[in-house]
Amino acid sequence: MMDIVVCIKQVPETNEIGWDPKTGTLIREGVPGILNRNDKNALEAALQLREQHGGLITALSMGPAQADESLREALSMGIDKAILLCDSVFAGADTLSTAYALSLAVNKIMRFDLILCGKETSDGMTAQVAPQIAEFLNLPQLTGATEIAIENKSVRIKQKLEYSFRVVEAFFPAVITVERGINQPRIPPMDSIMEAYRDKEVQVWGAGDLGGDSARYGLKGSPTQSRNIYTKQVKKGKVTILEGEPDEVAGKLIQTLKLKGLL
């Protein structure tokens, strides 16, 4: 038996996201959200481990009330329990204060052998929260897993680095992040989705439930500050269009490359 906590996040679905110039943070409230794609791989990895070894899986998220939807999606995939950290004091958190709140929640869940996280979120793209949870909880971390194997009370992963793979091992409890290639996340059938909304519960915890140092939550507890958010201006050059049939334009392109000394 092995108990797993999977940390997931609801991310904005749209391009058209606003930000609050006063706090320099994104306005997440009211923006359509989806479950972060990489987190589905972490959920799937947890489900496959449960199929092999048994145990209970808890999905944990922090976000506005609407993040409930992403937890319901996790439940519909077959996750056993769902907890949402939702409190206005959590808003505007950078990775440090996010990881602080999540690690307190994991402590409150108490029974776990592994914490699984996706590679990174599609909005912040930092990949920092998982290692930071590991540090707050004083646990070993194994990042970039493309395979996970369990033996007795230890976990062994195949770890992806830029130009190599490593096999690394740690004893429980440990934090693991998974690569996208590790599995193909299951798509829940319609009746599981209905059941997740109708019959399952998403527990909501606020700052009061976690205890902890309130000065460390949210924007106030975040050492990093966004001072300016802007759309990147793509350089607007003048494009020279080569025209003609495929053979003709191929010839023109090769000629151009030759003239520029690129061939």
Binding site: D123, E162, P223, V234, I254, T256
Partner: protein, 337 residues
């Protein structure tokens, strides 16, 4: 170290990632970038070199811009392990109090930096693409893609120290060595013992890709959704081979499984700045363009004349990649005889 007196923190540190007796290219890029920042602040650059038998690299780090190299050479640090390296760096940082710590946003850097940031109770801005010093406050300003699609953010860490960032490989310019530069090498004791470690490295299998890494390639042929399928990428690979170019891809074909993640260029992939970039069936959305916009000569082949990429390409061909690429291959082959 929660609320700190900032004036007690001086100097800029660069973590040197190394393997097989060589420093990672990104670490050398950061020595150059760090040198410019440190000169603006009027402070020293310290390179932090950790491993076993790594001392030989130290002198080279001076040539690339370091004033001092701190060397932690010990068998326990032979393979990178998160906690061992965190222990060594944090102990030294608590003693020497650097105001800035730069780390390459490699797999290892992204594993290590956030852990150090928690231990030092400071902020770490991930995957930055630009760094500067604010003249008024002396704070480091780190620019990064903020939201996965279209936003950039300037981020500072005003109160906590050190100000930490990870920087993507290939973003900062690799400065030339100055073999006249002099500096100081300092060896420090490593207190971590093997029996205290919690992670074991069972084995390492290197999977060196063919040719030069994408980030360092002079020429890149990249494919987008317009390539159509995995077979289309094999055709592109042939074109790349004939041009002496490396193959790359946007994120969607990677998601489709047409090509592996190692080839991904853009916000969630690699950053490139080749002399020649040829985008085949690439629309030019920010997810991809953020990683290739600094290419010198950009050539775009796309069926849609309204595709974004034509707004920043130097040469464009409005047409079907699956007809034009084979024509290019035929003619290049004929050229080579």
């Amino acid at each position: 170290m929660s609320v700190v007196n900032q004036s007690e923190y001086k100097g800029l540190w660069v973590f040197i990632e190394q393997g097989d007796g060589n420093p990672a290219r990104v670490s050398l890029e950061l020595l150059g970038a760090g040198r410019s920042l440190a000169d603006k602040l009027g402070v020293q650059v310290t390179a932090l070199l950790i491993g076993e038998g790594v001392s030989e690299i130290a002198q080279e780090l001076i040539y690339f811009g370091a004033d001092t190299v701190i060397i932690a050479d010990d068998s326990v640090a032979k393979d990178y392990r998160t906690e061992v390296y965190t222990d060594i760096i944090v102990e030294q940082a608590l003693k020497d109090r650097p105001e800035i710590l730069l780390i390459g946003a490699t797999c290892i850097g992204r594993d290590l930096a956030p852990r150090i940031a928690v231990r030092l109770n400071t902020g770490c801005t991930a995957d930055c693409t630009e760094l500067d010093i604010d003249n008024e406050t002396g704070l480091m300003v780190a620019t990064k893609p903020y939201f996965g699609r279209n936003l950039m953010a300037d981020i500072t860490c005003p109160v906590h120290r050190p100000q930490m960032v990870t920087v993507r490989p290939g973003v900062m310019e690799l400065k030339a060595q100055d073999r006249e530069r002099k500096g100081e090498l300092i060896c420090v004791d490593v207190k971590v013992k093997e029996e205290d470690t919690r992670v074991k490295v069972i084995k390492t299998v290197s999977s060196v890709p063919d040719g030069v890494p994408l980030e360092e390639a002079d020429k890149v042929v990249a494919g987008g959704m317009g390539v159509g399928d995995a077979q289309g990428f094999e055709t592109l690979r042939e074109l790349a081979g004939l041009l002496g170019a490396q193959l790359g891809a946007t994120s969607l074909p990677v998601d489709e499984g047409w090509i592996s993640e190692d080839y991904k260029i853009g916000q969630t992939g690699k950053t490139i700045k080749p002399i020649l970039y040829i985008g085949c069936g690439v629309s030019g959305a920010i997810q991809h363009s953020a990683g290739m916009i600094n290419s010198e000569c950009i050539i775009a082949i796309n069926t849609d004349p309204k595709a974004d990429i034509f707004n920043f390409a130097d040469y464009g061909i409005v047409g079907d990649v699956n007809k034009i690429v084979p024509a290019l291959i035929d003619q290049l082959k004929a050229l080579k005889g």
